[in-house]
Chain length 317, copies 4
Amino acid sequence: MFSAAILGCAGYTGQETLDRVLAHPGLEPVALGSDSLAGRPASALDPRLDGDLPAFVPNEEAAAAGADVVFLCLDHAAAAALTPPAGAVVVDLSAAHRLRDPAAARVWYGAASGAWSYGLPELWPPEGRLIANPGCYATAALLALGPLADGIDGAVIDAKSGVSGAGRALKESSHAGAVLENLAPYAVGRHRHAPEIAQQLGFDVCFVPHLLPVRRGLLATCYVRFADDAREALEEAYTSSRVVRVLPDGVAPELGRVQGTDTAELAVYADGATGTTIVVCAIDNLGKGAAGQAVQNANVALGLDETAGLRVSGVLV
Amino acid sequence: MFSAAILGCAGYTGQETLDRVLAHPGLEPVALGSDSLAGRPASALDPRLDGDLPAFVPNEEAAAAGADVVFLCLDHAAAAALTPPAGAVVVDLSAAHRLRDPAAARVWYGAASGAWSYGLPELWPPEGRLIANPGCYATAALLALGPLADGIDGAVIDAKSGVSGAGRALKESSHAGAVLENLAPYAVGRHRHAPEIAQQLGFDVCFVPHLLPVRRGLLATCYVRFADDAREALEEAYTSSRVVRVLPDGVAPELGRVQGTDTAELAVYADGATGTTIVVCAIDNLGKGAAGQAVQNANVALGLDETAGLRVSGVLV
Amino acid sequence: MFSAAILGCAGYTGQETLDRVLAHPGLEPVALGSDSLAGRPASALDPRLDGDLPAFVPNEEAAAAGADVVFLCLDHAAAAALTPPAGAVVVDLSAAHRLRDPAAARVWYGAASGAWSYGLPELWPPEGRLIANPGCYATAALLALGPLADGIDGAVIDAKSGVSGAGRALKESSHAGAVLENLAPYAVGRHRHAPEIAQQLGFDVCFVPHLLPVRRGLLATCYVRFADDAREALEEAYTSSRVVRVLPDGVAPELGRVQGTDTAELAVYADGATGTTIVVCAIDNLGKGAAGQAVQNANVALGLDETAGLRVSGVLV
Amino acid sequence: MFSAAILGCAGYTGQETLDRVLAHPGLEPVALGSDSLAGRPASALDPRLDGDLPAFVPNEEAAAAGADVVFLCLDHAAAAALTPPAGAVVVDLSAAHRLRDPAAARVWYGAASGAWSYGLPELWPPEGRLIANPGCYATAALLALGPLADGIDGAVIDAKSGVSGAGRALKESSHAGAVLENLAPYAVGRHRHAPEIAQQLGFDVCFVPHLLPVRRGLLATCYVRFADDAREALEEAYTSSRVVRVLPDGVAPELGRVQGTDTAELAVYADGATGTTIVVCAIDNLGKGAAGQAVQNANVALGLDETAGLRVSGVLV
């Protein structure tokens, strides 16, 4: 049994990570960090949380609790400022350590990845004990395009995400009055996940995210030059995965089947008229796009079963 | 042509009031007040707003612009603190001047209605030039129960409102992540619209509001002791109204038909087994529940056609 | 290990029951009944369903498969027409066998409960091997009012349900264009769950259901004459339950915390001004309101751990 | 005053067309066709519809009523089978007469456009009295790309539509349980609006539609090879339009501002890294995407003010 500390429990990714740790047969939560909830019991965050859990402590205290694995569910600046506790596996769910190029990192986040390893287990398993967890948009796009990257040199990625992807912080664009019955693109041509995707694929991509009127779930529709063997490449890449499923012909990915899970769905289409291959990926932005992948990365680093604690089975209508 | 000033244009009720004034054949907007947008053009609020509109000015300046009618789309404290401009018709969309009883008013809002007249045109037409515009929940409950009040002495009012009823201000309960696919009661037994409804009906009511995952629209389901002639009383009360429609037997009120309008729909049911009369009222919380009724009240006070500028016809699927 | 047959797998309650059976440590699915999917593999219903599952067979064949427990996820007429397989525990999720009074049953469903036992485990544990599973609205209302029933003789029940409560069948009222951004009451004063609630409580109730624009989840707001010890009665009734949680003061039930689970949340409020006690209950209509409760009833009848296979822990944001 | 007949009033596009005709100063509805509602009063469709309207008649009878303008709000087969009444302006909202190439038309619809003119007033004003009204997806894509077509030879069009775009007919994919909190692509690489767009632009396009969990509204995100003067071309094309608005830099199109209107919003972006121009268009699929454009086309053909009866002003929050 490994001990786990979670920093930033009061945010969406923190709460979801905590929930997976609670369901994990090999992890025990020993420190729950939250600067806003410090001193209060776990039930202050959610009445479903059990009275046996430790009370919240300041993030700094949680970091110093000596846990075997530490999950950083903080904003970029706070994650960049934190000195990783020595000896622990540290999974950073923020974007602070995702970019290898110091210049690019400075532009987008103010921190460079340095000794951190980018961990997307199916394609780039984490190495070492400092792990940068991919962004939600990047996860979906990379699952779709990673196995095809050798044969292509550009992509259009049209992505749509539920509002929880923007976090629990209050802002105008997350106000329900701005989200309900609405849809809009945002950060067109300047979203920070674009350089992250480009870094992993090796070429620039045209990336446009849209905000959906749904609570959770993310779908990326990716367009690339026609690739004859796209389906084979995807099926081979994920053949042994319990997380990523390449759907049979005629079944389209949809949010409804991945919400609340840590799985991903992929489908591939050929548009003969324009010579385009279309790959669509659906994930839960808080699952495979954040907390689920963070626990998966931790499992790999700790030598545990890769899907321990993950939600990879079960069917919700 | 009367001149109109609107204070608090940047909120939901302010923007909706402005929109009705723009469509009004007898009103001309001469001052657009907004402390947050002062100095900026109308298009800063919404790109649909025309370049011919005056720029925003501070609310205080708008109040002093000498308009014939002034709409206060402010929070309670700001509306209570404002000295009504002399000579103008003033319609206060906040709750500051709704309660006549000074003690009750102090408890709920810190201001008493004094010289202000409570204006719900179909039941209590405004008198004088200072008009307190009813709350959205109160409007729906009073349209349902006002015509029956003589024969009853109590009511259960179970109300459900879209999120715009809580305003454009950022708060946790209006975050889309808390609203989407959700429903919850709030302020149970302590909502400030309860004393307002009681004041107008003459007896206490049990009032429970719920927050719906919709942008706009409000439905109140009201339960009272069986009244034999409830349908007749309602039909008689609204027989000549272009705003309030008593639906035929077998047709239930629904948000979808009142959203974006200034109309109200009513239906009445008898539950023989328990001796209960059920009256259901649907309105748009920003229409008949706020801006539409404010303009309707102004029309009455100015001697204009009561529905001028209102959205009382048209069908949206 | 007990064997399980599920009839009517292609509907919402059938698919949800199947999913709980798959997660159940003591049940093994041996026959999947569906007249519409007969002959096709499990993945024809949902690509998440595993290739190791048996293919669909006609419902009649599934009923005759000799399973230890049979779940009837059929419409009322089909469930009423079926001869329960001898020796098996049979849980009927339809309404066919809920009403004891033959006259009432004839009016509402065309079948009487006869030898069937009404099973709501926390209040009325099932007896014998033929179990009528409560309706979703009835479950929420009875969890709220059952423990108080001795001291009251009437109730107003204002209920709101997500669209999956109306099933997967195509009808105008379930068309997304009629549901999205909408809310309306339906079947006012004539919903078949009213006599079911009355049968269990011992008095008539005024029951009004509303259709919510959410996929799943149900909230019942119940109004009764003031009861001094309502909270105590509720806490005592559910003190040892892992399924039903009485929330602490100041926390309101909400759909967001019960969706996808088999739990229930209760809160109790006193409205001093009108002498009313308000009890609010939230459940997932497909969980505690259908499939979760069906498996719970089966567990009781088979002598298994009452919550085996149920979703009673875990937190989704 | 011109007389108008509407065939297929009971569908979404029929009801919306009727509503615009009712608001039109120069059109009078003389025949309301609906095979399913024949013989019933207008209020049978919607209680908001006035008692002064004529009752519904069979579509064939409405076609023969001698109206000056006839709106065909029918499915493709019915529209193709109908002989256009002699002398009348006929606007076909179905797809039956949109494709000029007989072979393509046969593949997609079974009818060829023949004497019909494709009418998208801002780009291709209708000629003659037989007018094929564009599809909703095609309208959004063409408004975005039409003014740029000379300089490009291909496009990726990623489109997202509310559920009313699929009509009022009952089908699994329009069931609220399949739509709420969901998103999925459909008809990838084989949607019938693709050849319609290609016909008007002069080159093939890669078109992927997605079904949104909203009632109405459509957004098309279009990707083309970088065009230096894209903004200028769009602004010039729509400079005098009261229907199409090119938004200022920094404002993104959104459904919330076009729903319930007959307007369109456009924005243009440059993605320097990949040499891509992105044009985004938002419309209401039932407004500019159907009924609004149909009335606009009729106005042009009848020599009326182009926006008479249209919803081109007004602001809803």
